[in-house]
């Protein structure tokens, strides 16, 4: 595991993609996580594995302030404690049944997760708002080659022909893919946002073409 990375905030999703009462899968370098937002709007992140039978918790369901596993309905609090085992309704689950949780923060419309306890707050990108996230089957070097800019993890600005200058936030995945969050200037209108989305799609095609060529021996 990349231990030097665990105390930093990683942008795993956009706030707009996780409405209240829903769960979704995400990844950090320490593995897959279940990200969920309670009915009252509170965010939580846990290991994407129910300790009972190993089912992915991101397939589960949110009722009120708790996340339940889709397999047997075992229910967990935001702090990861098992609250309920439906097969034994009168049982109070022992404290020892818990799912590992992660630190999670929301800033500027982006959901940040850390495997450890980072000191500061996640960064803000003044003047930009999140547009969409997309996964690219290419690593940082192909992305740098495609944009002509160093694909720095703290983000970089790229201008495609016919589109507004967009800010890209690349997140390397342990699969070799890169999750990219696309941010646009806050004053962009609908047509500029659509153009920025299409520019990001073009960039993905370019980067994947470069990656595929590099992969040829």
């Amino acid at each position: 595991m990349l231990s030097d990375k665990t105390d930093t905030w990683v942008p795993v999703a956009l706030s707009q993609d996780l409405p209240t009462g829903q769960a979704m899968p995400a990844r950090t370098l320490a593995g897959p996580i279940a990200l969920w937002r309670s009915q009252s709007g509170r965010l939580a992140a846990s290991a994407d594995r129910c300790p009972h039978r190993g089912m992915r918790l991101s397939h589960g369901f949110v009722r009120g302030e708790a996340l339940s596993c889709i397999y047997h309905g075992w229910t967990y609090s935001q702090a990861g404690r098992c609250l309920r085992i439906p097969a034994h309704p009168s049982l109070t689950p022992p404290e020892t049944i818990r799912v590992a949780t992660r630190s999670v923060e929301e800033a500027g419309g982006i959901v940040w997760v850390a495997d450890g306890e980072p000191d500061g707050k996640p960064p803000l990108f003044e003047g930009y708002v999140p547009l969409r996230s997309l996964t690219v089957r290419a690593g940082g070097s192909a992305l740098s080659a495609a944009t002509g800019t160093k694909a720095a993890v703290e983000g970089f600005v790229w201008r495609a022909p016919g589109a507004p200058a967009i800010r890209l936030l690349p997140v390397p995945q342990e699969t070799g893919e890169t999750l990219i969050h696309v941010l646009v200037p806050a004053d962009c209108g609908v047509s500029e946002r659509v153009a920025a989305s299409r520019a990001a799609e073009s960039l993905r095609r370019m980067a994947e073409r470069i990656e595929a060529k590099e992969a040829v021996p």
Partner: protein, 219 residues
């Protein structure tokens, strides 16, 4: 109206789902597609020489294309599902209805291969499926920018029902849906509709029902 139906077929499910959403009662005639290959037998081949299911029979009318069945059910019982008739909306509906056949060929082919051992080039089927999912994700994202939650407008149409099943069941064919946040929101919106019905592989949204009992520490 009689539907020749296979419970695991996403194309048959489109018709069952549209009927449920539009309040049409179907007479279901189960077809032993697997393992019996009844759709290739004499009775069904006489009805549909193409050898595919679903088949929808209503009096003299025999339909063998699921998109036509969706149009028929909507026209009969729930015309709002055909859109407002505005040119752009009509075009978008036709666009995604045609597109849905690419989902059937790619994601549907991968699913049959991975689940029911049908022959096929699994690498190509999955790659084409991913390409189609990326197009759908981009299309839905652009719709969201225009203020529309669905493929043709801000309310669901037959185009959404034509695309939804093979997309929702993509994981059956080894194609992950994890990378598509906008598809997840769209799928969720469809699954939350009144009178929505599931098929195997698409589980119930248990959160739509309240917790049956309070958690012990809240009691």
């Amino acid at each position: 109206m009689r539907l020749y139906d296979y419970v695991l077929s996403p194309s048959c499910y489109k018709v069952r789902l549209m009927a449920a959403l539009s309040g049409v009662k179907l007479e279901i005639r189960p077809v032993d597609f697997h393992p019996g290959a009844e759709h290739r037998g004499p009775e069904l081949m006489a009805l549909n020489p193409g050898g595919s299911i679903p088949i929808l029979e209503d009096g003299d009318l025999i339909l063998t294309e699921s998109s036509a069945m969706l149009g028929y059910l909507a026209a009969k019982a729930a015309p709002a599902w055909l859109g407002s008739g505005a040119p752009e909306e009509t075009a978008r509906i036709q666009q995604w209805l045609s597109f849905s056949h690419r989902l059937t060929a790619s994601l549907g082919g991968a699913r049959l291969h991975e689940m029911l051992l049908r022959p096929g080039d699994i690498g190509a089927l999955q790659a084409n499926g991913i390409a189609a999912l990326r197009e759908l994700e981009a299309g839905l994202f652009e719709q969201k920018m225009r203020g529309n939650r669905f493929l043709a407008c801000d309310r669901p149409t037959i185009a959404d029902i034509a695309c939804f099943p093979y997309v929702a069941l993509a994981p059956d064919g080894g194609v992950s849906l994890d990378p598509y946040p906008t598809i997840r929101l769209w799928s969720r919106a469809l699954r939350s509709l009144d009178n929505f019905i599931e098929m195997p592989g698409i589980h119930r949204l248990h959160e739509l029902k309240p917790e049956p009992r309070p958690c012990p520490d809240e009691a």
